[in-house]
Symmetry: C2
């Protein structure tokens, strides 16, 4: 069984949302917090603003899309290992200084009969 946490953050600090170094630092901290490692990471800046960040992690993937013009970030954590989704979402919310967060947790079975 794998878990996918889908997080929408609203009212974020838009300077953070457009800062490559900060996005990478947040990703590293968040992935480390669940006991996983970043195996490779890729970041793309859009013109004029907005970032897509993606990390292959030891337990699957972590992605961040930002729309600074809407103070919005769309974040996914997909992990084969268990993690505390409430703590994870709350930490992310703090890091992006978000005013509101919506989360969805999805269970993904690796076998059809799980």
């Amino acid at each position: 069984m794998a878990k996918q946490l889908i997080i929408d953050l609203y009212g974020c600090n838009n300077i953070i949302l457009n800062n490559e170094k900060k996005i990478k630092a947040i990703a590293k901290m968040m992935v480390t917090s669940i006991g996983a490692q970043i195996l490779e990471e890729h970041l793309r800046k859009f013109n004029p603003i907005g970032i897509t960040y993606f990390a292959v992690i030891s337990t699957s993937h972590f992605s961040i899309h930002t729309w600074p013009e809407h103070n919005y970030a769309a974040i996914d954590l997909f992990s084969c290992n268990d993690f505390d989704e409430k703590a994870f979402a709350e930490n992310l919310r703090n890091e992006f200084q978000a005013k509101a967060a919506k989360t969805k947790l999805i269970q993904r079975s690796i076998t059809d009969n799980e």
Copy 2:
């Protein structure tokens, strides 16, 4: 409003699941089918088997994780543009020769009051 389609494919052809060229070809075809373009793509092969594929696409992202030992693939399409999720899932199922598919469609609002 953005849409995220989460697809779990079971009983896939495990030769396809572990074939880098085939995964990239499927990804290109699927992304093109929704009128989007791949801006950059990354593929990581795990030892001894398994692939993680990720593409930044013009409308957000497309990811494929494969577990050939379980004949399983976990696929996500996140797009700011609308697309036909049934056709998309059915085409993917055919490409991976999957015996079964589970899909979830998630609406992601870029603004808090959508």
